[in-house]
């Protein structure tokens, strides 16, 4: 399951999706929205994706992880639209026979998502807003 959704993400759905009789470990990562960034107080967050391409790219990441590590299954769901502070914006679940591969693939996935998947984040903070993303992970422009 490699998906972009405008609904809250349910961890259990991802865990169920990667559950596998050959797995001895399931590693999960939850990226949550925090109330501050680089000294600014964030009051709201809004994610936007190029959904067709984002899902294609997430699927490709899953394939790449399978080539690198001995994993059973992987699932990634990324949220779009407004996300409340403390809510998950992305959840990754990986099952593997052994924990090393599960942890490594999970870590790989979150790092790569930030680099290559066409999803942008708008941070609204006191006194302005800023778009973050477009592959570099760098702020683009203050508006």
């Amino acid at each position: 399951m490699f998906r972009v959704t405008d609904k809250p993400i349910d961890l259990q759905v991802l865990v169920d999706c990667v559950t596998d009789p050959e797995a001895g470990a399931i590693a999960t990562f939850i990226g949550t929205t925090r109330n501050n960034n680089q000294g600014r107080k964030v009051i709201a967050l809004d994610y936007e994706a190029y959904p067709e391409m984002a899902e294609k790219e997430l699927t490709r990441l899953g394939e790449e992880a399978k080539n690198k590590w001995q994993i059973c299954r992987m699932a990634i769901v990324h949220r779009v639209g407004p996300v409340q502070i403390t809510e998950p914006s992305v959840i990754i679940a990986v099952s593997a026979a052994h924990r090393e591969a599960a942890f490594a693939a999970c870590r790989f996935a979150i790092e790569e998502i930030k680099k290559t998947v066409p999803i942008w984040k708008k941070e609204v903070y006191e006194g302005g807003e800023i778009w973050i993303g477009t592959q570099s992970g760098q702020p683009l422009s203050r508006s």
Binding site: E48, A49, Y50, M53, P118, W120, K122, W131, G133, T134, Q135, S136, L140, S141, S143
Partner: protein, 59 residues
Amino acid sequence: MKVKVKLFAILRERAGTAEVTKEIQEGSTVADLWAALQEDYPKLAVLGFGYFTLSIRIM
């Protein structure tokens, strides 16, 4: 030829639209298209070139 351009995030906000259909000459480059878009949507002009994701589909 006609192309359909999808704009995202800050580009979409600045242009005030998520999708643009544009007539361009055969042999045009992405830079040519970007320059034409900046003429149509002056607010894109301050963003420079090289950082953004556009989806361009030839119709």
